[in-house]
Subunit: 372 residues, 2 copies
């Protein structure tokens, strides 16, 4: 199991600095979790993830279930051993992927039938099945099966999803047998009463941590923050709070101010493979011809492996040439940048300077990656 | 300039152990040079190349000239600085790429006109132009512009190429102005008298090192070794001998026995990206379903980063899933395997056991990658 410790709460915002103690080590919060969809954070080795101070990674139950299969991972001795990662891991439940990737799906109160993105074969996930899969994979933190809805959603659809998510969460807790920490998930789309109802229902089940799902799915950011403003206070102070699927630097900082402790997103790694860098001077598209002769460092204010050793001109050459090293160097930097940002946010929280830190950051970086 | 030192000559074969002293460090021979076509050894960082003991890399003048351009590399402070590699570099002359990649080309005694593989634009390489480009790139060892011929080649064609290669080599030496070591190249296709003539002509010009070109282009291996048997003795004992474009492990070992000191090939890196591993137990195709549940190490007798930390099952999962880490781990291993093989060959030469080493190796590994 995990143990969550609040180290300090900011005196002007809802931000807090904490530690999640796990069997695979401590996680200092707020924390960004790089996503290793298929048991690998794309373009990174486990050692390069450690070099940038990665504390915990996320992997996707849906993808691992389809390939290589949870039984194989169990036979390998669990995901940590399979992928050579000895720090904490969180697995999602597959709910989001079923709804976003699988075109053919049929949801009932019993569970959800879907077709594999790999070969079109039919599969059926129930809360009990998902617990079996996540327990075989063996992450430190596992998520309940939930039902996200698209944005915008009809009220009736959102209401059904809230009730089903509650029902499935209860069944997950009932079926859950290991000492992995099982987190609940709040849904409710953009309806305040439904969000509050969902939060109360999920908290009532009593989990060691809570996620807010169904955000960052296309809704305007003011709506997203509005939802945080009335949902977070319902979540227990002494449990970690995890906002799913958020990766834009400004949005992370803003969400920390509402009291969110954990984040994950494919954004920093995905945009890296498209040639985009997250930097202290803003978003850089390294395909741009203006970097062809720019021999300065990628981010003038950053000290990662990429920034210390390679110029913008070289990185542009790699990206334009489609070289794997371009993806490696930009992924390395983007993740290091986000992890450093979270560490700086934590330091600011510890000395009650988070509001200033946030204001300074947002002057330069407002919503840079929001549209991606 | 470079200085070549013979440390020991094997007492039963033509193999020799040497050291090439360069301004960027020493190179122990026999040596395999990983290929960094576009100023990057695909899927490797400079630090991972160092971790496996890479002493020298090769980069391609043709590709660098087209993109990012030699002037840009010169502005960056040379290729070493541009790509963050402070050990020795060798650049080829582009001759081979012009003949193998550019469909439209027109060769005269003056030079060769060709079309860019990138945008179809027309370019003209002369020996003088190639020297200008290689000097701008700034490798430690640079190659003369030569004219390779395809296999099989008509005698008349091979004869013209030998004369032209001699003429161009003379002009390269005349035009060469820096203290980079300029190597000559022997051509002559499969004609013994032409090979001998080419070797004598090129040696007569007097270079600090000699390459044998136009081999491993489709000719049967007995013919290739036959050519080595009568060509190598014409090359000066006290100069490094470089056989271009060879990467099959068995062929490397066999060629070392004829007195070759240097090798390069894209084979270990290219096959890695296709899921093939070079191992002590033979060639492994990691896409094969039999590795799906194989939790043993990639090569039971190897100790690189990949073999020490990841199972065949995991690597197969990465390869089948098209994950970049699959390319990274197999490239790492294949290069480490070839470099280790060269180190073991050198150790065997130093104690006059190279013939036994070669015989033992060939029992298991005969011509595994020859057909690729």
């Amino acid at each position: 199991m995990i143990k969550f410790e609040i180290v300090h709460e900011d005196n002007k915002t809802g931000a807090r600095a904490g530690i999640i103690h796990t069997a695979h080590g401590d996680i200092e919060t707020p924390v960004f979790m790089p996503v290793g969809t298929r048991a690998t954070v794309k373009a990174m080795t486990p050692e390069s993830l450690k070099a940038i101070g990665t504390q915990i990674i996320l992997s996707n139950t849906y993808h691992l279930y389809l390939r290589p299969g949870h039984d194989l991972i169990k036979d390998a001795g669990g995901l940590h051993k399979f992928m050579h990662w000895d720090r904490p891991i969180l697995t999602d439940s597959g709910g989001f992927q079923i709804f976003s990737l699988s075109e053919m799906r049929k949801v009932t109160d019993e569970g959800v039938e879907f077709r594999s993105v790999i070969d079109g074969s039919t599969h059926f996930f129930t809360p009990e099945k998902v617990m079996e899969i996540e327990e075989a994979i063996g992450a430190d933190i596992i998520m309940v099966l939930d039902e996200p809805v698209k944005y915008p959603a009809e009220r009736k659809e959102a209401e059904i999803a809230v009730k089903r998510t509650y029902n499935w969460a209860s069944r997950c807790k009932e079926a859950h047998k290991t000492d992995q920490a099982l987190f609940g998930i709040v849904q409710g789309s953009t309806y305040e009463d439904l969000r509050k109802l969902s939060a109360e229902l999920i908290v009532d089940i009593d989990f060691p941590g809570y996620a807010i799902g169904g955000l960052s799915v296309g809704e305007p950011y003011p709506i997203m923050y509005d939802i945080l403003s009335y949902t977070v206070p319902i979540l227990p102070r002494d449990k970690p709070r995890y906002m799913m699927g958020l990766g834009d630097p400004t949005n992370l900082i803003e969400s920390v101010s509402y009291g969110i402790d954990m984040f994950d997103c494919v954004l920093p790694t995905r945009v890296a493979r498209n040639g985009l860098a997250m930097t202290s001077v803003g978003k850089l598209n390294m395909r741009n011809a203006k970097y062809a002769n720019d021999f300065s460092k990628l981010d003038p204010n950053h000290g990662c492996y990429t920034c210390n050793n390679f110029s913008r001109a070289y990185i542009r050459h790699l990206v334009v040439s489609g070289e794997i090293l371009g993806a490696i160097l930009l992924t390395w930097h983007n993740l290091a940048y986000l992890l450093d940002l979270m560490r700086r946010a934590r330091q600011a929280i510890l000395v009650d300077k988070f509001a200033e830190f946030k204001a300074d950051y947002e002057v330069v970086h407002e919503d840079e990656f929001g549209a991606i």
